[in-house]
Symmetry: C2
Subunit: 624 residues, 2 copies
Amino acid sequence: MSLTDTIIGKPLATSEEEHSARIGVAAGIPIFGLDALTSAAYGPEAAMTLLIPLGMYGLHYIVPIITSVLILLGIVFFSYLQTIAAYPNGGGSYTVAMENLGTGPALLAAAALMIDYILTAAVGVSAGVTAVTSAVPRLQPDTLSLCLIVLVVLAVVNLRGVKEAGSAFIVPALMFVGTLLVVIGVGAYHTFMSGGHPTPVAPPPPALPAVMKYAGIWLLLKAFSNGCAAMTGVEAVSNGVNAFEEPRARNAQFSLAVIIGTLVVLLFGTTYLARAYGITAMEPTAHGYQSMVSILTTAVMGRGWFYYLTMASIFVALSLSANTAFAGFPRLARAIAGNEYLPHVFLLRGRRLLFSHGIYALTGFTGVILILFDGVTDKLIPLYAIGAFIAFTLSQAGMVVHWKKQEGGVRRHWWHMFVNGFGALATGITTIVVLVTKFTSGAWVTAILIPLLIGIMYGVKRHYSRVKREMADMTPLNLVNLEEPIVVIPMARWDRITEKAMRFGLLLSKQIKVVHIHTDDEDGHLDEVWEDHVMDPIRKAHLPEPELKVISSHYRFVIHPLMDYILELEKENPGRKVAVLLPELVVRHWWENALHNQRVQLLKLLLLLKGNQRIVVVNIPWYL
Amino acid sequence: MSLTDTIIGKPLATSEEEHSARIGVAAGIPIFGLDALTSAAYGPEAAMTLLIPLGMYGLHYIVPIITSVLILLGIVFFSYLQTIAAYPNGGGSYTVAMENLGTGPALLAAAALMIDYILTAAVGVSAGVTAVTSAVPRLQPDTLSLCLIVLVVLAVVNLRGVKEAGSAFIVPALMFVGTLLVVIGVGAYHTFMSGGHPTPVAPPPPALPAVMKYAGIWLLLKAFSNGCAAMTGVEAVSNGVNAFEEPRARNAQFSLAVIIGTLVVLLFGTTYLARAYGITAMEPTAHGYQSMVSILTTAVMGRGWFYYLTMASIFVALSLSANTAFAGFPRLARAIAGNEYLPHVFLLRGRRLLFSHGIYALTGFTGVILILFDGVTDKLIPLYAIGAFIAFTLSQAGMVVHWKKQEGGVRRHWWHMFVNGFGALATGITTIVVLVTKFTSGAWVTAILIPLLIGIMYGVKRHYSRVKREMADMTPLNLVNLEEPIVVIPMARWDRITEKAMRFGLLLSKQIKVVHIHTDDEDGHLDEVWEDHVMDPIRKAHLPEPELKVISSHYRFVIHPLMDYILELEKENPGRKVAVLLPELVVRHWWENALHNQRVQLLKLLLLLKGNQRIVVVNIPWYL
């Protein structure tokens, strides 16, 4: 207990729960914005990685591609402004879809969001670690180990529970945005002064030789799909509207505007400068790999203290963005489990008043994903965008239905419907583009996982409904037919533990069957002592006489004839309960179990599996 | 069941046991000799491997070293002739030591023999596979996999049970001895005709350059120790005397003489020819490694069909020699378990009337050893000789005591005592030489394992004695103080499964305590329905009223307060039994367990671990 206490803290009583204070815009921007803003650290690179075969020619395409992403971002921004206004209590995709589109789409949103959270954690951790390995190339071979260490630290911190999480976010978010803005500012200044051709302080690694000169539409669509990873996280504000001070909706909308404005500057700035400085992405598996942001920062500022400060900020900010998944996933799982679509454990609050099973599940899945994809961000991106865009689309499609149902209907809300509908259309098309173009490079994982998850959720719901139907009993206790059970005692020999079982059996019932399995190998002496040691005392005490049943087992099986006998007995006595008394030796040390046969355990298991309502197992322990 | 039937055969009834017919000398030589004879395939090479640093100079030493081994073999031969005469019912080291030297030495012999059997299997398999990889160098990287495949095949064959094992041995043994004798004969002829310097048909791989010119005494002792591996297996005849036709002892002695005579020819012949042909051992890890016998056969006969026939014979014979461990180990384990020094499972006969647990154990240990030592024979040799020589020494030392105890004592049996004593002395000194010289290269494993095994055997004996002492009860059934137990029913809510538990509880006792753990999180409705649904019907039926005990758990723990309550109750009612009724939901598919909390399982486990004689667990299953 003490070790657990040290690592994840003392248990908290239910009454110790604190309701966190409402937050203002200044805190809201880092808290809900970090996830979106940090996408700038890997989004542009994700798009550029696909242009590597074009060598330096790829630079011509990167600005238009990121500009398309920014236009889509603008559309989504206006759409979410309306969602915030309409759902001041928080309008996550799951909620909006459940209210407006029904169960099917809601479960699709739920599955997409769960996968999105897992990938938010995975990408946050892996991109953060990439910042570290870019700065210290010696650590590159340990990428996966570093990812898993960061993941475990996040899990432990979250199992303790994060108090005043808000203030912890402000400094890293400011550092992240601040350092990147300095890089962008200095780089833009040099670019402007040199007429568009700045001289890097330290030269970037040379672009790989081009294997093609022009990009086809397919390659451009793929690059665009990857670049869409830059948009992940923008839905966070709409989920958390009710955390804001009044006027909630206005504050949330203002925060969203600031977040998206900053994101646009970061995305456009880094992309534009990459082109100006002639920076291309590196193969993530290449020796001495650096992230694009690392190369850019080196080119603009050199490898001084500022470079290391920037990389450290990126690492901390990305780790914290992974942390948002740790806040969101358990709550989402709880909401779904509340509707009985996920196991009930997600409803239980652990010792620190958190939904700890959600944290376990997220940590486990994220760990598996990181291991499967070697902790390489670029391999995770194709899986990531799908989940996020399905959620975007469903949330906005739900909003269209929402407006239609409002007073005044289509006539009054046509503009709102148009904005959300346009958003849904744009993100819907993007979802399809991402799915098609990235299918073979990883999106198929998501494409399999989402229906699988939906299937599981339906299955869980069906199971719980059945259990409730079969178990629920609000009728009073039925006392009819209270009849003594038939007691069965398997007995290999007469010793103190079987004596104990006999004594208990005599209490239970007047009808006792002692079963002895006789294998030709053993020289059992039960028959010899039965009359003297068992029957005589019972006759003298005028107690009901037990019956000794000896079964010969020529094949030396013990369990099977016993099971057969019990099942037969149960069949011959319909309506009667059969209580099987199993004397069990409890040893002092676990390894001593190897010295005794485990037939009792096997029998217990078989009785549970093959038994039925009328067979009850009574465990008589004997302590050495 | 059907799959098991196919792989290891249908179960056999105890009455189907067959007593194998007595065997004559012609069958006895291959059956009991194979293990000893096949030592010729790896023994000389084991010694030569250590002379690799001497390059071609090593050839001067090899004949004297093997000659020393042969002298030792002669001493052991005469010693065992006497053992056979004295123990016509089979005189294994364990038996002889137990009868004549007492428990301590007998357990030492037992441990040494068990390790010896494991290494017989491991060395047989690995040396057999070496013959294959020598012939087909492409398979060399798969050495370990091949070893494990052969091991599994042996295990399955032995689990089925080997009928008429004798005849299966004759052909491979003849092939093995025959092909090697042809190689030796042809080689000797060429050597003689060429005046001692035959020209190889195919030149052997050149010796590695010498890094030293003269061997020190330490190196020679090490080479001798390794060469002693050639003696392993000669004790087999003395263990199996009672399998021979009458006159048993004479037939066994004659068989032993033929076996050892053949072994001497094989050992001396291969060694002498290796020297004549200038053949040195290769590093087992070197690319294109071949065993010495493979090089020799190639040099004498070329790489024609005869070469492949020879290698195939070696492979089959060595695999069968590994098989002797599968026959011996389970019997030895059974003999030791019969004295309660090993777990009782070794006494049980499996479905095919074999001591299957011995086969499992041997397969497991052999597999581990093969994996640890990469399936390389030369790495196993240092471990091997120790066990065999300890067994030799104890067996012969036991014989000295045996003769002393016979009628006539020392005066009459001084010659017998001298022969066995001389054997014991020679093998004892060899044991020490092997232990000291091979300690760092692997003998330390055996040196740790043997005392460990002895410790385990003493521990097992102590445990069984204690259990017997505490459990044995030949007193009649005690019917004093038969008092109803106090029944405890943990209840989270009122449903059909808890109703079932209540009904069973009412049968068991007049004193029922229903415990409800109330966590602040749940809105339990048990209190609301308790009066109407439970108490009312009970009062109407004039049954004893159960007590409802509600325990508040502010920290949301359920198991701990329940355990505390049960243990407290037990303490407050000395002398009374406490029966805890645990209603348990049995789901249809194992994965459905994930949808229900596993508190009942945890509670069962805790009650078993923390409980005592007076707490009984009653399992009330509910099937969905």
